[in-house]
Subunit: 211 residues, 2 copies
């Protein structure tokens, strides 16, 4: 099914924030699939996602969002990836494999991003002192990493779904590769660390955390 769709080839504009893993997802997929795009920097930390001009583009006031060549707008990082990658090798052709990919995409947004990315944002963008960060973020982020370790330790293919890179890996690596900036130590999760290095290699991006 996924293989029958035509690849998206038309240039688009991303409204994104350079330090945001959610925004990186869009560029990772576009670069992998050689889809041309223009980047417009929007800094949520200085209120640029709440201006009337930006809210006219994305009423949800979030980055990333993309404007297609015909002017239509799409938001939500994982939805943008699904749109861009349709018909590519990044979406499994098998129905159940594809469903597992969806499962991890939703898990990422519900259980991973709100813990690991949010703790990193407190430190990196908020400049909040370690002792002033809600301790629940470390607990829930640790639970997320433990679940990833358990899954990847039993994943013979070396990826979240099957034996090749899919959108599940791209969504999950976006903030996992930056987890050390949020105070998480990937060395404690060897299967996760090996997977991060593998996926960063696939994406051609650097992993700068401890090994």
């Amino acid at each position: 099914m996924a293989g029958k769709a035509e690849l998206h080839r038309q240039p688009f504009t991303v409204y994104g924030q350079s330090g945001s893993g959610n925004c990186h997802k869009v560029t990772f997929v576009a670069n992998l699939l050689s889809i041309p795009f223009t980047w417009t920097e929007i800094d949520s930390t200085t209120g640029q996602t709440r201006t009337p001009a930006f809210l006219a583009i994305n009423p949800a006031g979030q980055v990333p969002c993309v404007v297609l060549a015909d002017g239509r707008v799409l938001s939500q990082s994982n939805a943008i990836m699904l749109y861009l990658a349709e018909g590519s090798r990044l979406i499994p052709e098998d129905r159940f494999d594809r469903a597992q990919m969806y499962q991890w995409l939703f898990w990422e947004q519900y259980s991973h991003e709100p813990t690991i990315a949010v703790r990193r944002a407190r430190k990196v963008f908020g400049k909040v002192k370690e002792e002033d960060i809600d301790p629940k973020l470390m607990e829930s982020g640790t639970r997320a990493l433990e679940l990833m370790q358990k899954h990847l330790a039993g994943a013979e293919g070396g990826y979240f779904v099957g034996a090749t890179l899919t959108l599940a890996d791209i969504a999950l690596v976006a903030y996992t590769r930056l987890a050390h900036e949020g105070g998480f130590d990937l060395v404690k999760y060897p299967a996760v660390l090996a997977w991060v290095k593998r996926v960063c290699g696939d994406l051609g991006v650097e992993y700068t955390g401890p090994v």
Copy 2:
């Protein structure tokens, strides 16, 4: 593309909690598409999602999850819906419409469920007094309802994507129809209220909130 897949017809088992909107999504789709299923009640409020037996089925310790006829397991309510509904009228055939459906599915899990459903859970399951509930939940839930009102007021088709019921509506109605149990007043959002009644009618379920 979506129209080319075959409908899922094999019976499955849902592990779910009767009062959970996330779990209702699975039964709504199965009933609409006449897919037979067996329900196994799992009460997260008494720790039944954290038992070794349940964690062996779903390591994430969440309901709903489904076990297919061949024993394979799938979790995450919206991923389950996408699996069951593939090839049906509930997933738009147009690529951009389908992407917009994905967008709302992810928005629901990131910005709607953690506010509207969580505030309801505090009151209904947690029996937390109104004054002891984090005021941020009312603020963020109100923002979510305002965004839905704005979108639906401009949606000529009467649904979130296009002019027919899609998974976006089913995901969003699951907790919106119960929002009054969390202290939200849908009467303030007339386009949302009209849409809730329309979708509940399509699903054959009752809306018991104020009109």
